[in-house]
């Protein structure tokens, strides 16, 4: 451990933009996103995959970025919370629904909920109450008691239908991508 660590180049598409990072093999994807790519919207709550705060979309599917090594996802397409708003800066249906339903308090767990629900609504665009609860059933929140988060899932589904045709996971660069 006295020698400098060997670093590896990782190429990623993050929120629609090509990014590269030079990281040691042991760098967690969550740390890579936060500290190498400087996208600090993804939060780390437990670093053992239980709380879900660090959830990002990996090729469209929600994953816990604290359980992945950055080098293991070389070439992947990643969406973080910074990439959820539309190219015009408008909040996505899920983000908008959280604001309307008071679905967040301290906001620390929120990015993980937003990414998880964004993917969840693509799979179940008109969720039943059971599906809505199941969708957020693996994410911890200590502030809200979850009632307003479940309400936000339903409201987001409504908003998506209203914005019909809008892609739930934008592939074009958003304002949060630049750095």
């Amino acid at each position: 451990m006295n020698e400098a660590e060997q670093v590896h180049e990782v190429r990623l598409t993050v929120n629609g933009a090509a990014r590269t990072a030079s990281v040691p093999a042991r760098r967690l994807l969550s740390d890579c996103i936060r500290h190498d790519l400087h996208l600090t919207g993804t939060h780390v709550g437990c670093e053992h995959g239980v709380c879900g705060a660090c959830t990002v979309l990996l090729n469209g599917a929600p994953v816990r970025s604290c359980l992945l090594l950055a080098v293991s996802v070389d070439g992947a397409d990643i969406t973080t919370v910074e990439g959820l708003a539309g190219p015009d800066g408008r909040l996505s249906p899920v983000q908008q629904a959280f604001a309307e339903c008071h679905g967040l308090q301290c906001g620390f767990c929120t990015p993980g909920f937003l990414t998880t629900i964004t993917a969840g609504l693509q799979a179940a665009p008109e969720p039943t109450d059971e599906q809505a609860r199941e969708m957020v059933g693996g994410n911890l929140c200590r502030c809200t008691g979850y009632q307003n988060i479940v309400a936000a899932v339903h409201r987001a589904a409504e908003l998506r239908r209203e914005h019909e045709g809008a892609a739930a996971v934008p592939r074009r660069p958003g304002p949060g991508d630049v750095r």
């Binding site: 600090t40 959280f98 906001g107 479940v150 949060g176």
Partner: protein, 794 residues
């Protein structure tokens, strides 16, 4: 009053947080070195040696510190924040262990390195030799005192304190009926999703320290760090970034890391950051709740309490930096909405070799509520009376307000309830849950082989605790209004409710109001965020500050418009004559005119320059006693706390086979005085109820007899997910305004959690017909209760 007070205004905080643009502690300090800590693996041990040589050789390690490196003031124990005459043996930790460790997780050495990965590599190579000592774990072991946590604290007794109102022994002796109960609550913890964290930057040219910390009190940290590091207060800025939840644990200060990180940053002339990881949060921050209580109660045939004697034992962990606040709150708030004929309470605060105990949301009230409500239910059961009837008979009546309980509260002031209407709350709760209809519901379920129970619990919560908070409001020449208050936010929506109050008071759009909390550069006098006090304290302070700014704006505008200030109003940022909204001037222009200028910085500012004309040439441009600007600064310091109240009721179903408990309905009636923003109050209730459910059914700190915390992870410490909380929380409000502040409000932050254990214990007891005396109650606990009860019956 006006348009925004009482409105469900959407939060102004949210847009930023939803875009991932929040700035929490670990999001800051990109260029900072990382700190990590060697923490004790033993609950109790002497340190016989520390070898850092191998760790120092790790590439990227910048410094390693142990106790021997600490300069004089840092080498002293951390402050005892709230001294009390009964706290005869107060002990606090050293920033780094001084030859002895007293709980698993206590910091022994600090590593500063290029990043956290490297710091943890070095941590593994630091060789600490320990000579283990017997560990004291749990209240029984502390009370037996076969071993001592601190060799110089006999009996492990930090404090013994007592209060009495009336002659309790005589009242109980004379009572027709007497019951005794033993009641127990286990440990849980605040457990915010973001742990603790601190970033420090020392500017050697300016000789100035900037400190960002995830805290509930920036001014508290500032004073403590300035004192410990010997820096003038004026040269220390403490800035609270976005905080990912607090719930009490972040009111404790200074944490060892909060003094060590800035000390290292100054020594190394490099910014240094510490970000706590999850395991560290479990073993190196603070817990709460563990108490054992013995109740003796005397009452009459109708269930009226004639005398109540409560003896309890509080596990304060290894140290008591926060003094006796939790047991004092239990001993006073236990009384809830009731007026026993006489009341005596005595507690022991005991050291154990476990993580220290400081307030967690509710701060002693959930245990007090559990004790009182279980006692009332036991009286009702013994007398064969309806549980709501026994409560009604013991309530303080609205016409008895203000009501003096004859005790001293946690703020050192008399426990006098300011206002409240407990019979009205109970009536609302009975309606909401359908108390009187429940027997039919139970029978219908029983016919399907289902086991249902109902319970209720009542509490009174002293909120808006002093000593004071302040606020500052300034109108900029753009018309934007900047507001600052010194206490901090952890997600409650303070910026929103304070902006509502200021927008109303000033008559400006809320979108023009920006509120900053917890930044000592903006407001240096403050206490902190705890005890459901922000709306009452800072809400009142910013309202008074905005009122001053408004008076000034009207006065300046009156001069410019040549009308009387009494005829002017401000609507939508325009100062105008009442009834004539077209003839006014913008509040930003008024701000320009209020500040006589030599130099024009923009077009609008020209109006205030020296050759612009206007003004009486025989008077100074700024009148004697006046100041430039449209500004207001005010403080609010109430004579004592205001007392919010509430009552919860739940219907549960218990599984006859698996002993699982399902909450079918959860109803809340709540009185926090006038509501500024019902959506935010409801959000606070939702979150509190979830923590109450967690504490009642799932969460416990599982220590083994050697003092190892066996469940120090989110895998094993069962914080509720969505699947564990009630689907819906039915809420009704009552508003009895407080006479103690200009807004008539009371606090709401902690309320939701207080009756959780009490109400669920009551409902489970009702379903099972087995006395519940200890919480939390897991399915295996309930299974065991059934087994024991079955054996006793047989």
């Amino acid at each position: 009053m006006s348009s925004l007070f009482g409105a469900r205004v959407q939060r102004v905080e949210d847009d930023r947080l939803l875009r991932g643009s929040g700035a929490y502690l670990d999001d800051l300090g990109e260029d900072a070195l990382a700190a990590a800590f060697v923490r004790s693996p033993h609950a109790h041990a002497r340190i016989t040696g520390i070898d850092i040589s191998a760790a120092l050789a790790v590439d990227g390690v910048v410094a390693i510190y142990t106790y021997r490196d600490l300069p004089q003031r840092l080498a002293e124990p951390l402050p005892l924040l709230i001294p009390h005459p009964a706290l005869s043996h107060g002990r606090t930790p050293y920033p780094l262990a001084n030859g002895e460790v007293n709980h698993v997780g206590e910091a022994v050495a600090m590593i500063v390195a290029r990043d956290r990965y490297v710091a943890e590599d070095a941590e593994e190579l630091i060789d600490v030799s320990y000579e283990p000592l017997p560990a004291v774990v749990g209240i029984d072991s502390a009370r037996r005192a076969e071993h001592l946590v601190h060799a110089d604290v006999p009996g492990n007794l930090a404090a013994r304190a007592a209060q009495e109102h009336g002659d309790t022994t005589a009242a109980i002796a004379a009572a027709p009926h007497v019951l005794e109960l033993d009641l127990h609550i286990e440990r849980s913890a605040s457990t915010p999703l973001e742990g603790r964290g601190v970033l420090a930057r020392w500017d050697p040219q300016a000789r100035r320290l900037q400190l960002w910390t995830s805290t509930q009190t920036s001014t508290g940290v500032r004073a403590a760090v300035a004192a410990k590091l010997g820096i003038d207060l004026a040269n220390v800025d403490v800035i609270t970034p976005d905080v990912g939840g607090g719930f009490g644990v972040k009111i404790v200060h200074p944490w060892p890391e909060e003094v060590l990180v800035p000390w290292a940053a100054r020594r190394l002339l490099r910014p240094v950051k510490f970000t706590e990881d999850r395991r560290e949060h479990f073993i190196a921050s603070a817990h709460e709740r563990a108490q054992e209580h013995h109740v003796t109660v005397g009452y009459d045939d109708d269930g009226r309490i004639l005398g109540l004697d409560v003896r309890f034992w509080h596990d304060n962990g290894a140290y008591v930096p926060y003094g006796l606040i939790v047991p004092i709150v239990t001993s006073t708030q236990l009384l809830g909405p009731y007026k026993p004929g006489a009341y005596k309470v005595e507690f022991d605060s005991l050291y154990t070799n476990t993580v220290l105990v400081t307030p967690y949301r509710g701060a002693g009230r959930p245990h007090g509520c559990f004790v009182m409500e279980r006692t009332i239910d036991a009286i009702a059961a013994e007398r064969g009376l309806d549980r709501t009837l026994v409560r009604e008979r013991n309530f303080i009546q609205p016409e008895e307000m203000p009501y003096d309980q004859g005790l001293i509260f946690q703020d050192g002031r008399p426990l006098i309830y300011d206002s409240g209407d407990y019979p009205a709350l109970l009536a609302k709760l009975k309606d909401l849950i359908g108390w009187d209809q429940f027997p039919a519901v139970r029978q219908a379920a029983a016919r399907e082989g289902r086991r249902l129970g109902i319970g209720l619990a009542c509490y009174v919560e002293g909120t808006g605790v002093g000593p004071y908070e302040g606020g500052h409001v300034i109108v900029e020449t753009s018309g934007k209004v900047k507001v600052a208050t010194g206490l901090t936010s952890q997600g409650q929506g303070h910026q929103t409710v304070l902006a509502q109050l200021v927008a109303d008071e000033l008559g400006v759009p809320i979108t023009d109001v920006e509120v900053v909390t917890g930044d000592t550069r903006r407001f240096g006098y403050a206490v902190g965020t705890f005890a459901s006090r922000t709306a009452v304290m800072s809400g009142s302070a910013v309202t008074l500050a905005a009122r001053k700014a408004r008076e000034k704006a009207l006065r300046v505008a009156a001069g410019a418009l040549e009308v009387s200030a009494d005829d002017l109003v401000i609507t939508d940022g325009l100062v105008h004559v009442k009834g004539d909204p077209d003839s006014g001037i913008g509040i930003g222009t008024v701000a320009v005119l209020s500040n006589p200028l030599r130099y024009a910085f923009d077009e609008a500012a020209k109006a205030a320059t020296q050759f612009a004309g206007g003004g009486d040439m025989n008077r100074p441009p700024v009148a004697e006693g006046d100041e430039p600007g449209i500004e207001g600064r005010a403080f609010f310091s109430p004579v004592r706390s205001t007392f919010a109240a509430g009552m919860h009721a739940a219907i549960v179903e218990t599984d006859p086979d698996t002993a699982e408990v399902t909450i079918l309905r959860y109803c809340v009636v709540h009185d926090c005085g006038r509501l500024i923003n019902p959506q935010i109050v409801e959000g606070q209730i939702h979150g509190g109820v979830a923590q109450g459910v967690g504490g009642a059914l799932y969460e416990r700190m599982a220590y083994d007899e050697t003092g190892q915390l066996l469940n120090a992870s989110f895998m094993d410490f069962l914080m509720p997910y969505v699947s564990e909380v009630p689907r819906r929380i039915e809420i009704d409000h009552l508003e009895t305004p407080s006479p103690l502040n200009p807004l008539g409000i009371k606090g709401a932050g902690e309320a939701g959690v207080i009756p959780g254990a009490a109400v669920l214990a009551a409902a489970i007891e009702d379903a099972e017909d087995i006395p519940v005396r200890s919480m939390p109650l897991s399915p295996s606990d309930l299974f065991e209760l059934r087994r024991v009860s079955h054996e006793e019956t047989a």
